[in-house]
Symmetry: C2
Subunit: 373 residues, 2 copies
């Protein structure tokens, strides 16, 4: 008896869904082989939450703007929705995406490739509110605080419960593409993605795009909160003595979506290697692919044009090797500023910024020896 309930490879669309990396709170990644369109469908967009999703009532919701401002603001969701809006397409990547590739293993959600996505975000420029509030001259940073609260687990950690908060530099906060967003891909934000309002800081790792945004604070000193110093920080030793700095801009990175890890390929056949590449505040200009674990590199082609802060999908039309065996594929991007992805992970970044080419191991199997198919 071998009755099939469904055959997803036929005319029925394949199911979508996410991979659980942590539960309670949900930390879920996109199966990255599902990469297809330029825009990541909302239901495939990774979810990275520090605490349970707050349930916020849009009717009673208030967004406060305070600190070193001339005029404190308290706005309702309706107030924000009534303001002039803009949309931007931005790739968000969790700073820990790719962590499962680090050896030896490090603490934290063991993300593989799917803690990254590219969406269209719609909302009010943060600068609009800040101009309305009137920043004091000595403001250096804008702190963004969410309604999500809890007790951090990783040391060094503060006592008790705190709200998730991150800051961005004043100049960055005033750029017109930093949004207080209420829509994602043309629909209201889902609860897991920050409903009713979230920050979007294009070009920065996802931790800057604070979800469930409730407080905006103009600060005259660099913010020293938990997720700005202890977590989401790195050691900058460019001046000799290592100093702690907050993560900010995404590093140049590329990923292979197809083939996926341990995929079986037939020998001597055309196969289109497919992936995406992105950067922080620069543009991805070249993509190189290695079919032999890094011994040699060939140039791939971009599918998408340059669009600052959005990823570029790319492809390489490969002919699979005639010889069955195990092959390691890599992708490496080059940026407009001359950067290339590094050969390995920089330990100064701890469990973050996994921006080196990630090995995708595949098998070329002769048809006869392809078991179970």
């Amino acid at each position: 008896m071998d009755m099939k309930v469904k055959n997803w490879s036929g005319t029925i669309p394949r199911p979508v869904g996410l991979i659980i990396r942590q539960k309670d709170p949900n930390n879920l990644e996109m199966p990255f082989d599902q990469l297809d369109d330029f825009i990541t469908p909302t239901e495939l967009f990774y979810i990275r939450s520090h605490f349970p999703t707050p349930e916020l009532d849009p009717l009673s919701y208030r967004l406060s703007t305070g600190g070193a401002v001339r005029r404190e603001l308290s706005m309702s969701y309706a107030d924000i929705r009534a303001m002039p809006s803009r949309s931007c397409i931005a790739t968000l990547e969790c700073a820990g995406n790719g962590r499962v590739f680090l050896a030896p293993p490090v603490p934290g959600a063991q993300w593989e490739l799917g803690a990254v996505g590219n969406a269209e975000w719609t909302g009010v420029p943060l600068s609009f509110l800040l101009e309305h509030a009137g920043l004091a001259d000595d403001v250096v940073e804008i702190v963004l605080e969410g309604a999500d609260r809890g007790a951090p687990k990783e040391e060094p950690k503060p006592p008790g419960q705190i709200s998730y908060a991150r800051s961005i530099r004043r100049a960055r906060a005033m750029e017109h593409d930093v949004l207080i967003a209420y829509q994602m891909n043309g629909q209201d934000l889902p609860p897991d993605h920050g409903y009713p309002l979230r920050a979007i800081v294009p070009g920065h790792y996802g931790m800057a795009s604070v979800k469930w945004l409730t407080n905006i604070v103009a600060a005259t000193q660099p913010f020293q909160g938990y997720w700005q110093t202890s977590d989401y920080g790195y050691w900058d030793d460019s001046d000799g003595t290592p100093v702690r700095r907050p993560l900010a801009e995404m590093h140049l990175k590329s990923q292979i979506a197809l083939p996926r890890v341990y995929e079986r390929l037939q020998p001597n056949r055309p196969y289109t290697i497919f992936g995406a590449a992105w950067a922080g505040d620069t543009d991805v200009t070249e993509i190189w692919i290695s079919l032999d674990g890094g011994a040699s590199w060939v140039k791939g082609d971009f599918i998408d044009p340059i669009n600052r802060h959005a990823w570029r999908r790319w492809k390489y039309d490969w002919t699979t090797p005639p010889r069955p065996g195990r092959y390691t594929l890599l992708a490496r991007a080059t940026a407009a500023d001359g950067c290339v992805q590094p050969d390995g992970h920089n330990p100064n970044f701890g469990s973050y910024v996994i921006d080196h080419p990630l090995p995708i191991e595949v098998f070329v199997t002769s048809l006869e020896a392809c078991p179970g198919s």
Copy 2:
């Protein structure tokens, strides 16, 4: 520009591949929504390794049988292949499968649903070798040792490097379905699955089916090795004072393959919920599904007949709710011995035996509000 490189939902077969849970050594799981046939294709079968895959040459390979036996044996791979063989279909589940559902999180690979598979195994009954060697009367256990070696990381751990080893009780070892297997689904074992030889202990958690099998030792005392006591053990408090015992038989369990976590469903439509259920040394006789997080249960239908030690796929023809929202689906099996899956995880099993119904959260979304599709 929205050029598509490939459209996997069309006539091209979807790619297969595995989800990385740990790297170096590779611990990879099947995307469980890929469940389809009764037999898990070898390329989708989960890989759980404690140390790097040993590279063994079948020409120089020897399998030793020793300990309390009348005649020590040393056999080549060719010797084993020349013996009478048998095949059996057995479900293997990693004892830590489902670990990502435990809250708070526990150490170890954060398996979701895919560290389980059902394959056909072919080899020589272990009893054939043991009878040939002649067990001493006072033998109580058979220790199976693999060629994989390394230093365990979890406390309490022994000093230095050790070889992976597990024991099974004498009576179980003498049953005809315990194999020294050289084939999986009709093909030679792949390296990651134990090439050239592995044990298969149907009904036991996967840890008993020692890969890269090189030593068989007849023991007159219960084996007290690391993976028999410190790891893959549990606290048995049935007599009041907790005592440490090795894990052995798989517990009754069921899993939902479709829908998958965070899948979006259309309201008021037919949808076939699909999954599998298995047990150790009993048979799965009933499958119940909850569509409301456990408040009520409906009976599902089995697709596969009872086949001891193999899973049974099951289905339930559902009509999705008319009301959009978040729904939690559960499956719970009943066995011939009257057992039902427990409501929650028994902490005596530590980070193992996650045999309670695992919540699959899905969204029913109205067509208009289905973002990004």
